[in-house]
Amino acid sequence: MSATDAAVPTTSVTRARKRRRRLPGSRIGYVYVLPFFVVFIAFSLYPWLDTAWVSLHSVRLTTYDESVWVGLDNYRNLFTNPYFWNAFRNTVTIGIISTVPQLLTALGIAHLLNYQLRGRTFFRVSMLMPYATSLAAATVIFLELFDPGLGLVNWFLETVHLPAVDWQNSKWPAQVAVSTIVIWRWTGYNALIYLAGMQAIDEDLYEAAAIDGANRWKQFIHVTLPGLRPVIIFTIVVSTIGASQLFGEPLLYHNGTPDGGTENQYQTLGLLMYQQGWAYDRLGLASATAWTMFVIIVLAVVVNLAIARWTGRPSQTARAEGETR
């Protein structure tokens, strides 16, 4: 994860290395990391790798040990399957609808929270309440809020003389509703992350900017945003990973069936995989989907980081520094 790598100042790493050399207790280190690696290898690493092996076979749950080698057939099936591409598109669009407003709002909220406020603990804790609510509970709650007949959302729309919306059966409204659950749960959390990042920015930079006549908005653009870059990149990466695996919200949004709506209008890749494996009993195909998802996640993260590097580096940061000096 280069986001993390980039953030660790090299000085502290080298310093730590130099220090560590002086300390005894060499071999015992293996013993101390052993419990971690035993659990990790048995229940994480081995299953990941075995998934790759299973994806090259035709496997059923009941006859798991009688798998048949099929080579790349599962992948071929997957890539020629319209359901896969539908799920892929849905994952991307729901990902965008849920992530972009979420992070932008979180940034704004963090800015507000950074003011001196009375009762700030109250505000912060309140904003984290959705994060403490499980996705199952949140989805069940929003399912009724978005209910076409009983829901408060349509009541509100009608009250302000807008047409009622079918949040379940039409495509985009359903995707918006599912995204809303994600946004509700994670915005406050990300706002706190940004707030922590803001408070870590050197105050002198603001002072210098103020002396140079930069107003609050300019300070935000040229001091806060560049200072938050590593944090912003990290939240984008984490949100991208989360969005790529979206599963629970769309599952419960259609009563626990993994089809993602009557016309699969919000079936995500995570749901498709679950459906292949547990509804259709095609574990090989599901495993191929899992590995494909992983590759997609890695690509999405790499693209994100590339964009971040490309946009952030040359002009803006330099300008900000020029202006604050």
């Binding site: 419990p35 048995a42 003011y115 001196q116 309140s126 009724e144 007949g149 922590a196 870590a200």
Partner: protein, 317 residues
Amino acid sequence: MSTYDSTGESAAAGPKGTAADTTDGAIPQDARGTRRARLARSKAGRQRKGTWVTYLLIGIVTLVSVFPLYYTIVMASHTNAEMAAATPPILPNASIVDNLREAFKLAPLNKGLVNSFIVASAVTAGTVALCTLAGFAFAKLRFRFAAVLLAVVVGTMMVPMQMGIIPLYMLMARLGLANHLAAVILPTLVTAFGVFFMRQYVSSAVPDELIEAGYMDGAGPLRVFISIVVPAVRPAMAVLGMLTFLTSWNDFFWPIIALSSQNPTIQVAFQSLATGYAPQQSIIMAGTLYGTVPVLIVFALLGRQIVGGIMQGAIKG
């Protein structure tokens, strides 16, 4: 969703260590009123007082955060017909109790709560203990391949849980653990995030001199770990513990695969309640509320610490 829930907490990568201590309430609390602090703050001019606009906006955000939870109480106490009325109700009433009674018949909510408590406690204890131990080793002990192993740990923070569920499911079936709580506990007993988080904290919070002094006094590495490192990193262990407990409590994907609706965690119980045959939505809402309130209460009580923990995690991680 496991990455949202696991690496999610790691949050980000700020300038490591530098600002962890100045985040959140700590500084203003201690320094409030001292002249220097006031001077520093006014000089910086950044911590400006919020105007009424600030409060208005923050108020709206707070309302949006909390309102769905409040309205769940309302939804839990009204029938479908009442909810569909031209003017929906805004206050709860006593029928919530009857609805809850109905909910108990549809899903084993209490069993779910007990199971979730067992799972989350076990996972938290295991994660905090094993990750602190491994984090200490990576931070302070010199052994071959330590850097490589740490890189492996950090690198896997990106791999989603979904990647391995099929072999994991078969593994649990072979171990005879299908539908046992152990099947949910074991895979999350350690997290890469936990190791990385503790390593960062041990590196910055435990001076080498302290450890050397321990060795000087004839203590072995285990003694040093227990008597010197653990007391020094207790705050970080508490943070990791709270975040792990919450993540484990709210975990959904793996539990619904590994557990049946007869032996559920609370999340699995929600799923069977929501997808079952409740005659009224209010019954589902009452059950959901019942299963959510305990964690919200704990959250409200420990809110300040959790907020501080998340913000600290953001900078440290």
